[in-house]
């Protein structure tokens, strides 16, 4: 499913003294099959944007605030807002938002804090039961839950009757992710999936997301503060600042704007920092900013120079 947003704006508490514009005229397209990154500070609008993608924030009710009631003479009408996810038109009130939510899975920050059921099986089955039109048989539920629990790398037989609250932190997060992907969404959106984990846990979560991207969900969108995470994993990334989109580029082009990103108060990957420092000495390292590629390119330069010296 392709995600298309054009001229999307959103204001919290419109018309009150606490009104704050969270999105301003955002246009952004995410193609099917991408591993897409969304970067920005807290309050840059990135969370507001992703919450639109499965209709948790609704356009129809808020839209009237951005369109003038009466146009002045000679004034052109503002461009129409477009927001589609596959065939779902999110600007249309009549859209079936439940069907949309089934197709767009959303994993919030610290998802383990949303576990509630008595057993792992019941918790993972929650979404499955909610989204199915007719009552599912126990066997059908078991099969779907088993597949989801196993794909996140846990042992179903061992865990199914355990309370989710007895598990370790890393296991809880996996169970929470299983509870979202169990309905086999086409798009999976994750807000800071690795937050609060130790280095090994972080790496394991990123590996899990790549596995899900290959086998389970066509499109993966992650919101992250960690530039290394973005540069190592994403096909493209969008940079949000003050409710607007500043860049939408693949990492290899995005992090060439190291200086502009730093001016926005954002980090750049270490490889981009080193590339910029080397550039000052007149050395051009043309890498895609992953650690592996950067080292490879540096070593190639070094070998070339060594051969030239001989």
């Amino acid at each position: 499913m392709r995600i298309v947003a054009e001229h999307l704006s959103y204001t919290y508490n419109p018309g009150s003294p606490f009104a704050s514009a969270a999105l301003r005229d955002v246009s952004l397209t995410i193609e099917e099959g991408e591993f897409f990154g969304i970067i920005g500070h807290t309050g840059s609008g990135k969370s507001t944007f992703v919450q639109h993608l499965n209709g948790l924030l609704r356009l129809p009710s808020s839209q009237k605030h951005y369109r003038p009631k009466r146009l002045k003479k000679g004034q052109a009408p503002p461009p129409a807002t477009v927001l589609t996810v596959g065939d779902f038109d999110l600007t249309d009130k009549k859209t079936n938002f439940r069907a949309l939510r089934k197709s767009v899975g959303m994993v919030f920050q610290y998802p383990e804090y949303q576990l509630f059921a008595e057993t792992v099986r019941d918790d993972v089955a929650f979404g499955l039961k909610n989204f199915s039109k007719e009552k599912l048989s126990d066997a059908a539920i078991d099969e779907a839950v088993r597949a989801a629990v196993e794909v996140v790398g846990l042992d179903y037989e061992e865990l199914k009757d355990k309370s989710p609250f007895e598990l370790s932190g890393g296991q809880k997060r996996r169970v929470a992710i299983a509870g979202v992907i169990v309905t086999r969404p086409e798009v999976l959106v994750l807000d800071e999936p690795a937050a609060g984990l130790d280095p090994l846990g972080k790496r394991e979560v990123m590996e899990l997301l790549h596995k899900l991207h290959r086998e389970w969900c066509k499109t993966v969108v992650i919101v992250s503060h960690d530039m290394d995470e973005i540069s190592e994993n994403c096909t493209r990334a969008a940079v949000f600042a003050d409710g607007t989109v500043r860049y939408v580029l693949p990492p290899r082009e995005l992090f060439r704007h190291a200086q502009e990103l730093t001016e926005l108060g954002l980090d750049v990957p270490l490889t981009a920092k080193l590339t910029a420092l080397l550039q000052e000495d007149g050395i051009v390292v043309d890498s895609d900013f992953t650690t592996a590629d950067f080292c490879e390119k540096v070593l190639a330069l070094w070998k070339k120079r060594k051969e030239g010296a001989q």
Partner: protein
């Protein structure tokens, strides 16, 4: 979510905002007494005039005040209707079975309705002009005498203060959990009562667990900062009377005196 300030505090700097919260609480009580002492329209007019003065001094926009009244419109209309229909007056306009509409009934109902409206406005003036924290301080200070009969006033005030601090945090948390469960297809809006109550479990369980976890951590953080209860504790913020408090005190004293005087000197029936 957290940008919606709790209570109704209206953040401007004014004469009334700067008054000692204890005095404001006492004034509110005194004012309510005055409203109930007023037995005729002259008395109520005096009360209304004082309230108008306070509103201007507090720089609260009229619309804000109306909003407070709007919340109780139904209650006011309902009691007024009952009073009109059941008051047994002498100048009767219309009767039907046990119902009876009379001149005196209408006057009496309007009088009661005005009392109720004044009551609501003056109470909301307290919350508009006093931050939750100073309200807590005021309550703690006024309840101090209860310490003599071994009621833990300090602990109660601390609980109130922590509750006020945690309300925005827990409101955020509720919104987040609700969103997460809605993303998993939870439906909180349809079905009968039983179904709807059951639908809140996926919100309540995580919320309760989170509140317990927070309480635990907060307890540790308080211990780590040497909290041992109210004994030999000092207070950084002392409440102090100023010239403003004196002016306000005289004004309210005059109001009560005036209402009592009118009650005696102007024995009008309404």
């Amino acid at each position: 979510m957290k940008d919606v300030s709790f209570g109704q505090f209206y953040p401007v700097d004014s004469f009334v905002h700067r008054l000692d919260p204890r005095l404001k609480i006492v004034f509110l009580i005194a004012y309510i007494v005055a409203i109930f002492l007023a037995s005729n329209f002259y008395g109520l007019a005096a009360c209304a005039a004082v309230l108008l003065l306070i509103m201007i001094a507090a720089r609260i926009p009229f619309g804000k005040v109306l909003r407070a009244v709007r919340a109780v419109t139904f209650l006011v209309l309902f009691t007024t209707a009952l009073n009109v229909l059941f008051y047994k007056g002498e100048t009767v306009y219309w009767t039907w079975k046990i119902f009876c509409v009379s001149f005196e009934g209408i006057i009496f109902s309007v009088f009661l309705a005005l009392r109720l409206v004044l009551l609501v406005i003056c109470s909301s003036m307290l919350t508009y002009t006093t931050t939750p924290v100073s309200l807590t301080d005021g309550v703690e200070s006024l309840l101090t005498p209860l310490k003599w009969i071994r009621i833990p006033v300090h602990a109660l005030a601390l609980v109130m203060s922590i509750a006020l601090r945690m309300i925005p945090v827990l409101m955020d948390e509720t919104a987040r959990i609700k969103n997460a469960q809605m993303a998993r297809g939870a439906d909180f809006e349809s079905g009968n009562l039983v179904k709807r109550v059951k639908a809140t479990i996926p919100i309540l369980v995580p919320l309760l667990l989170s509140a317990l976890r927070r309480a635990d951590e907060l307890g540790d953080a308080m211990d780590a900062r040497c909290y041992t209860g109210g004994n030999h504790r000092t207070k950084y913020k002392k409440l102090r009377f100023t010239w403003r408090d004196l002016v306000a005190f005289l004004l309210v004293a005059a109001l009560i005196g005036g209402v009592v005087a009118m009650k005696i000197l102007l024995p009008a029936p309404y």
